[in-house]
């Protein structure tokens, strides 16, 4: 319990840090929100009206006070108004978030389905033909930018073979290409990590015991080794969610997948600072929440942690 409280306190510090850093970024942004607001409302921009608008927006306050005000609004769910669409930032993000979540879940399932068995088998037949082949493939993928893979895939599958539409829509056909690109690039990294984790596990004595008892390879790998590797594998999952969210910005904008990543890129083009700020804060908080859940899950995956704590 004390450990849990300490974790919670550390998470709170992190949340304050994340929001402060995000706020500072926008604080440093070159645009003047007061001027923008006046222009939008069609009022004359004079020194006097500017002063008044700055006062109304709280821009004449010291930075820390501004941060406090902003944080209070954030807790209330008010993240400001989008400069571009003039709708609430939280609303716009909330509308797009399910699409990104769907893409992330599908991609992650693909990654797990591809890389867990491949990683296990590569470790089992270390330096064998399968291991060497995948070492080569993963090496290649580690050096390929995801936008290059996306564009090649788009050229072959959409433009030449015409299997998938060029402009993505939220449908089975629309999700295939973005999910494939995300999961292929991430799998390349994942396979190497799984292989390393499993190799470390296989040095342990109980593997020899299982083998001498005549258990099949499949049973040893998938019933015993895999279960004992769960904690590091789940940690990996927590880390890679961040990669997935970052990769989604590029992949979503290429395939026109209407998620938060595409929204962010469009907002940057439109210099829509409140939107960018809202996006960063949300992504960091979601990333944090997922990793908090990952930490909690150890207790269920490993009885030693449950009893030891």
């Amino acid at each position: 319990m004390r450990k849990f409280l300490r974790n919670l306190a550390q998470t709170l510090i992190l949340i304050v840090g994340i929001t402060f850093l995000s706020f500072t970024l926008s604080y440093l942004s070159p645009g003047d929100p007061a001027q923008q607001m006046l222009k939008r409302s069609g009022m004359m921009v004079t020194e006097e009206t500017l002063q008044k608008a700055r006062h109304e927006l709280g821009l004449d306050q010291p930075m820390l006070v501004q941060y406090g005000l902003w944080l209070r609004n954030l807790v209330k769910g008010d993240m400001g108004t989008s400069v571009k669409s003039r709708k609430a930032v939280a609303l716009e993000l909330g509308k797009r978030l399910p699409n990104t979540a769907l893409l992330a879940v599908v991609s992650m399932l693909l990654v797990i389905a591809i890389s867990t068995p491949v990683g296990l088998l590569c470790a089992w037949w270390k330096d064998g033909p399968l291991d060497n082949a995948f070492r080569f493939v993963t090496y290649l993928f580690a050096s390929l930018p995801s936008f290059f893979i996306s564009l090649i895939m788009m050229y072959v599958l959409s433009l030449r073979l015409k299997w998938f539409p060029v402009i993505g829509s939220v449908s089975v056909k629309g999700i295939v290409m973005p999910a494939l690109v995300l999961s292929l690039t991430l799998s390349a990294w994942y396979i190497r990590q799984v292989r390393a984790i499993v190799l470390r596990e296989m040095e342990k004595g109980y593997i020899d015991g299982l083998m001498s008892r005549g258990l099949s390879t499949g049973s040893i790998l998938f019933r015993h080794v895999l279960r004992n590797c769960m904690v590091p594998l789940v940690t990996l999952f927590g880390i890679s969610i961040g990669n997935l969210m970052g990769g989604a910005t590029i992949v979503e904008s290429i395939f026109s997948w209407p998620g938060v990543g595409k929204l962010a890129v469009d907002s940057i083009t439109a210099r829509d600072y409140p939107m960018i700020q809202g996006y960063v804060v949300w992504m960091a908080l979601i990333f944090l929440a997922i990793n908090f859940l990952v930490d909690l899950s150890y207790r269920f995956l490993d009885p030693r942690i449950r009893k030891g704590a």
């Binding site: 840090g17 994340i18 850093l21 070159p30 930018p145 969210m245 962010a264």
Partner: protein, 270 residues
């Protein structure tokens, strides 16, 4: 071991070649890389234009050579900056300890709480496009690894006999830090730096692809590919050749990182 030495020699040779092409290559181009010529627009690879031409009739091969230096120097700048800042902050905090150490570790954790590419996109997006800002944004992402690594290595050697001996002999804090701690920290941090160059090049190209890095008419590869995606159907060769160039460069740097790690044998520490 022998194979790794070979890898080191090969990758260093290739990088030297690459640097040569990036630096003096632009002076020996058969065509103007930045001058539009609509008569030759969107031509497929031919004898005249080995890798074809783009939508403005510019030679793709020439533009790849002209853009090489942008990607390379930007990536090297990022790695050099985070290497310097991270190492100095890390060893200072690790050696002095106390409040400074605590604060530094907290700050790195806060930076790492952001999904890395999203942090880069946000910083570059808010500061505005341009090479300088995207270099800054990648520094914001990468410095934490170096600070944490340098710090943990320093903490592990803080009570080593040779540090104690230096202290007994009356060496000052600064001289201990830079004469005794730093040399022992540099090797593993350098390996991390070498391993990161490839990923920095990729991130930089990604930022440029999103329109956040290099501005036109620079021939930075990511930016070129972003421009060329509208001509994917008519002129796929622009994307293919720029992508291959990017891929080869990243592979060479990854090879260097891997062989350097094996040669210096710091596997256990990273």
């Amino acid at each position: 071991m022998k194979r790794n030495k070979a890898g080191l020699v090969i990758s260093l040779t290739l990088i030297a070649l690459l640097a040569l092409v990036a630096i003096i290559g632009p002076n020996y181009l058969p065509h103007q890389p930045f001058k539009p010529d609509m008569r030759t627009a969107l031509q497929p690879p031919s004898h005249e234009h080995l890798l074809g031409t783009d939508n403005l009739g510019r030679c793709v091969a020439c533009r790849i050579v002209a853009g090489a230096s942008t990607s390379l120097f930007a990536a090297l700048a990022v790695v050099a900056i985070v290497f310097a800042i991270g190492t100095v902050l890390g060893i200072t905090a690790g050696y002095i300890g106390g409040v400074m150490d605590h604060v530094l570790m907290r700050v790195t954790l806060i930076f790492q709480a952001f999904p890395s590419f999203i942090l880069a996109v946000a910083v570059a997006g808010i500061l505005g496009n341009g090479m300088g800002n995207s270099i800054l944004s990648l520094c914001a992402v990468y410095w934490t690894t170096y600070a944490r690594l340098a710090r943990s290595l320093t903490v592990s050697m803080r009570n080593a006999p040779y540090i104690k001996a230096a202290k007994v002999c009356g060496a000052g804090k600064l001289s201990i830090l830079f004469k005794y701690v730093l040399p022992n920290v540099v090797a593993p941090v350098l390996v991390t730096a070498a391993l990161d160059v490839g990923s920095v090049i990729l991130s930089m190209a990604g930022l440029s692809f999103l329109g956040l890095g290099a501005v036109r008419p620079t021939a930075e590869w990511g930016a070129v590919m972003s421009e060329a995606k509208d001509y994917l159907q008519k002129a796929p060769w622009i994307i293919v050749f720029n992508g291959i160039a990017l891929f080869l460069v990243v592979t060479v740097f990854n090879l260097l990182g891997d062989s350097l790690r094996d040669a210096l044998d710091t596997k256990g520490e990273i």
